[in-house]
Symmetry: C2
Subunit: 218 residues, 2 copies
DNA sequence: ATGGACATGTAATTTGTTACATGATTGC
DNA sequence: GCAATCATGTAACAAATTACATGTCCAT
């Protein structure tokens, strides 16, 4: 069954959907009621999309918006003189909504999630690093993740109650739980790190505090 | 002449490390005892690196190896006639090890993890999709994640026991726990999805099984 | 002999980032 | 008046993928 490519005809159409996920993400942002500027889109992406699907650079958002408009999936209008600031607002078109629905509801597998975790890369290479330094890095990560958690909970609270937003809400709930898990995972890793290479001057039988600790209490 | 930097005193040095994380990842693969080919590196990346830091395309691995060698961080040798197959094996150099240790142990923050989760993107856009289709997608994700979990556990078992590998081992343990959490998160999301939009023909009071689990023990 | 895994690479293209450039408006 | 935020873009570059091209070795 595996029509392996050796002398096979070209274009085997990877998914048939044409656009990269990022384009659908931007169009998705537009699919909720109202029109918005690229700048607003970026802020929204930072505040919620990034928790489960990264936030593109502002310059890329503008580029995607232009592409979406060229495809007829979005329309734009310049603000008139009644508005204080000159800006360009985008809205999804019917065609865009149809295309997006076809993508979102398509039978095609969503594809595996991709995780790039720089901290884990360093832990993995931990044999080259100072144990204390490594623990400090994990501590920073925990602190940052708790900050993200607060932000995600805020975003969730803002989405709460609105019925139209039930699905973004579900995605945000997933994100909150995921971030909670991220903190727990990092804390467990700290324990593993202690077991693997106790910091110099620490008595293993003393069962010291993992992160903010001073191994020598004198 | 394109002046690469127009005497701008703007706050500088994003990390000061020059190379992208992917280059360090490849060099990291090389930092463990033994020498290996690009092809072997790719397989190893698929089998373990990808659980916490994605697996680059084979062509990119070859490109990174060339860059690493040009920098003096790796050396390569062609297999002699004693070996059946012509290939090029790479090894880390002392300079490479020093540079890698400086990167891994540096005080610089590791930076935030980036997660690109195509399934969540679709759930987030769930108002455009068929509820049943969405649930099916989540089910596929759970099945795939369980498969990954098995692979990660296998990789962990292979690393078990070897003392030199304590840090890769910690990274793998984190990965296993993370995948376990991923399954739980998806199952919880299935419940949320049921609450948001019960599938047509489903009696909400019937408490049907979401996908893999049986919440009612009889 | 055929196909699959091993093995290495190039070319074209796409995707995404950072730096730069510009200017209006708001709040202090 | 000045800084911060709003707002939009371009240019240069870096990162990464896919498609292609080529060939060997091994098992059936």
């Amino acid at each position: 069954m595996t029509a392996r490519r050796t002398t096979s005809p070209r274009h085997e159409v990877p998914s048939g959907d044409g656009l990269p996920p990022t384009a659908w993400a931007v169009l998705g942002l537009l699919s909720f009621p109202g029109e918005r500027t690229g700048y607003e889109l970026k802020k929204w992406a930072d505040a919620s999309l990034r928790f489960f699907y990264w936030s593109p650079a502002i310059s890329q958002i503008y580029a995607e918006l232009r592409r979406l408009e060229a495809l007829g999936y979005a329309s734009s209008r310049r603000s008139g003189p009644e508005e204080p600031r000159a800006k360009r607002s985008y809205a999804i078109t019917d065609e865009g909504r149809t295309a997006l629905a076809a993508w979102a509801g398509g039978a095609a597998d969503a594809g595996p999630p991709v995780l790039k975790h720089p901290l884990l890369l360093r832990v993995w290479l931990g044999h080259l690093a100072d144990p204390g330094q490594l623990r400090a890095l994990v501590g920073e990560h925990i602190a940052r993740t708790r900050g993200d958690l607060k932000e995600a909970r805020d975003a969730l609270a803002r989405a709460e109650g609105t019925e139209e937003w039930s699905h973004p809400h579900i995605a945000l709930r997933w994100s909150v739980r995921r971030l909670e898990s991220e903190v727990e995972l990092a804390e467990a890793m700290l324990t593993d790190l202690d077991a693997a290479g106790p910091p110099p001057g620490t008595d293993p039988s003393a069962a010291g505090q993992p992160v903010g600790d001073s191994p020598t209490p004198g």
